[in-house]
């Protein structure tokens, strides 16, 4: 123990130790850097290769030694610094909006339709429930809401007009985002979380429509929701469909196992959540600025609602921003020069 008994190891250490200061400095610099020039990147890669060589040699000459462990730790730190995703460039943003989001939406299209059916069915059940047992409205509405409707006032206009439209939009947006993200995240519970959130929201929607209809305010509520409702409800269905797809990945994992299946599905569906958040931002603005405005007529609201919904559908189906054809794809040249 008192001295290095292996002369080969001592020679190897004397030869390579002077480089470790440079390699360690390069490792630290690479971890700190947020962007690198080509020269810097090449320099870092060269350091990575050198460290790997030293690590492999140390494991061979001094297996299980402290030196081998320290070299492995330094290599691991540099490995993380070298292996990182590229920055979010303009091209990546375009790719996300034009390709990734429509692809993610297409992968949950059938599920989204089923979720929409569930929402409608729950809404019908809510309507029937409150129509048959009006006293049950206290389960889905606050006493202030019930009192207001019974006196002929919709809570939407009473409460919302107290706050400035911008603040109202922000509040509505944040609330909707939480509900939407919740529908996605709770889908991990074998899809039951998403199912529950859609069923409850549908039940409340139908119940409130029935309750307001009973007091002659059904049209007023419909008028209020006409401009923002279509996109808001569609986004909720999309998020719940994505959540159900996550649950499906857990239930039927395939070859890679549950964790791998969940990770892959979540990565595929992530872009859809970005779309949901952006759509809800627009929806929140409409709900804050247009929906509570009593002067805006039903046809205008309908036009706004339908236009926004159509825009959403075009985007999610990939028709809004068509993919640019790579050069030479449309014209397949043959040796004779003829275009096929």
């Amino acid at each position: 123990m008192s001295a290095n008994t292996d002369p080969d190891a001592a020679i190897w250490i004397r030869r390579h130790a002077p480089q470790w200061r440079t390699l360690a400095a390069e490792s630290a610099a690479a971890s700190r850097r947020s962007r690198a020039t080509v020269d810097e990147a090449l320099h870092t890669l060269s350091a990575y290769r050198a460290l790997s060589r030293h690590l492999a040699s140390a494991r061979e000459i001094l297996p299980g030694s402290v030196l081998a462990t320290t070299l492995a730790q330094t290599s691991a730190a540099l490995h993380a610094a070298v292996n990182r995703s590229p920055r979010l460039t303009r091209a990546r943003w375009i790719g996300l909006v034009r390709d990734d989001i429509p692809a993610a939406a297409a992968s949950v299209r059938a599920l989204a339709l089923w979720i929409a059916v569930l929402l409608v069915a729950s809404a019908c059940a809510g309507w029937w429930l409150i129509n048959t047992y009006p006293e049950l409205v206290s389960l889905i509405a606050s006493p202030a809401m019930i009192d207001g409707v019974e006196h002929g006032h919709l809570w939407t206009y009473q409460v919302l007009n107290l706050a400035p439209p911008a603040l109202l939009s922000a509040r509505i947006f944040s609330n909707n985002v939480v509900v939407t993200l919740g529908a996605f995240c709770f889908g991990i519970l074998f899809g039951l979380g998403a199912f529950y959130m859609i069923a409850i929201n549908g039940l409340m929607l139908g119940g409130l429509l029935a309750f307001t209809h009973q007091h002659g305010l059904g049209l007023g509520l419909l008028k209020f929701t006409l401009a923002h409702g279509p996109v808001e409800l569609s986004v909720m269905c999309l998020a719940a469909a994505a959540g159900t797809a996550l649950g499906d990945a857990v239930i039927r994992p395939g070859e890679g196992g549950r964790a791998e299946s969940l990770r892959r599905r979540a990565a595929e569906l992530g872009p859809l959540l970005v779309a949901c958040a952006l759509l809800l931002l627009g929806s929140g603005l409409i709900e804050g600025f247009i929906s509570p405005h009593p002067g805006i007529s039903i046809p205008v609201r309908l036009a706004v609602g339908l236009s926004y919904w159509t825009l959403m559908m075009l985007w999610l189906s990939g028709r809004l921003i068509p993919r640019a054809r790579p050069r030479g794809e449309s014209q397949c040249a043959d040796p004779s020069g003829a275009t096929l």
Binding site: M1, S2, A3, N4, T5, I13, R14, H16, A17, P18, W20, R21, L23, A24, S27, A28, S31, S34, Y48, R49, S52, L55, A56, L62, S65, V66, L67, T70, L71, A72, Q73, T74, S75, A76, A77, H79, A80, A81, V82, N83, R84, S85, L88, L167, A170, V178, L181, G182, F184, C185, F186, I188, L246, A259, L262, R263, A266, A267, G270, L273
Partner: protein, 244 residues
């Protein structure tokens, strides 16, 4: 059975090993981050309160807006702390740095923005029903000690080895000039690093045994009541060997 290490294949084909951080490290990091974001949020409210009480503002119509802005900034600080800081610091937060941990992907790489946002999104479930019980339970039952957010994002928390470079330089310099083996050097460093944590009798015994083997001609000598003399001799041994 919990795994202690994550083995990944390096770009050059050499295997690398990362030590997985356990629930203790996670909780420690989270507590520090929680204090920072809470203090940050309270700081915004305090600033808004003080601004509102300033004579020019106290009677102005925007006094209410100042307080509202304070609340909004406080909520944003509290709720967006983790996603924003983790993205900005590429998988680290002040709490994680203090706890000596960082987030990596299953390939040992620095996670991208999408993965970091995804793992933060699932805090909605991990924080349930209170005090991150779901996340903590998940850390305790999963092999790689990950919470649900990490499972979905394909990330995990590992011990941050970025300080290993300094150890490498120190070890390299000493090994280059000393007659001591790497193991002997490491034993001295380990003992000196843990000196304050060890009980008095225990560190004296270890130091004596080490000195008797490394420097038999000098002998163990007097230890003193807290072993300070032995510690100084171990430090001198490193320096002497280094100079020689």
């Amino acid at each position: 059975m919990a795994e202690e290490e994550l083995n990944v294949r390096g770009l050059t084909g050499v295997d690398l090993t990362l030590r997985i951080a356990g629930p203790g490290t996670r909780s420690y990091a989270f507590l520090i981050d929680w204090q920072i974001r809470l203090l940050g949020a309270l700081a915004w409210l305090l600033v808004a309160l003080l601004l509102r009480r300033l004579p020019p503002l106290s009677r102005a119509p925007i006094a209410h807006d100042v307080m509202l802005a304070g609340w909004i900034l406080a909520l944003l600080t509290y709720f967006l702390y983790h996603p924003v800081i983790e993205v900005a610091m590429r998988g680290r937060t002040p709490g994680k740095i203090k706890a000596g941990a960082r987030i990596v992907t299953l390939e040992g790489a620095t996670p991208g923005v999408g993965a970091l946002l995804m793992r933060n999104l699932f805090r909605l479930i991990d924080c349930l029903p209170l005090l991150y019980l779901v996340g903590l339970a998940s850390c305790m039952v999963t092999a790689r000690r990950v919470r649900l957010g990490d499972l979905a994002a394909g990330t995990l928390l590992v011990i941050d080895e970025s300080a290993a470079g300094e150890s490498l330089v120190r070890l390299g310099e000493q090994m280059q000039h000393t007659g001591l083996s790497a193991e002997a050097l490491q034993l001295i460093h380990d003992l000196l690093d843990r000196w304050e944590l060890l009980a008095g009798a225990q560190r004296i015994r270890l130091a004596r045994e080490l000195l008797a083997k490394l420097d038999p001609q000098a002998g163990a000598g007097r230890a003193g009541p807290d072993g300070t003399a032995l510690r100084e001799r171990l430090e001198a041994l490193l320096v002497r060997q280094h100079r020689s």
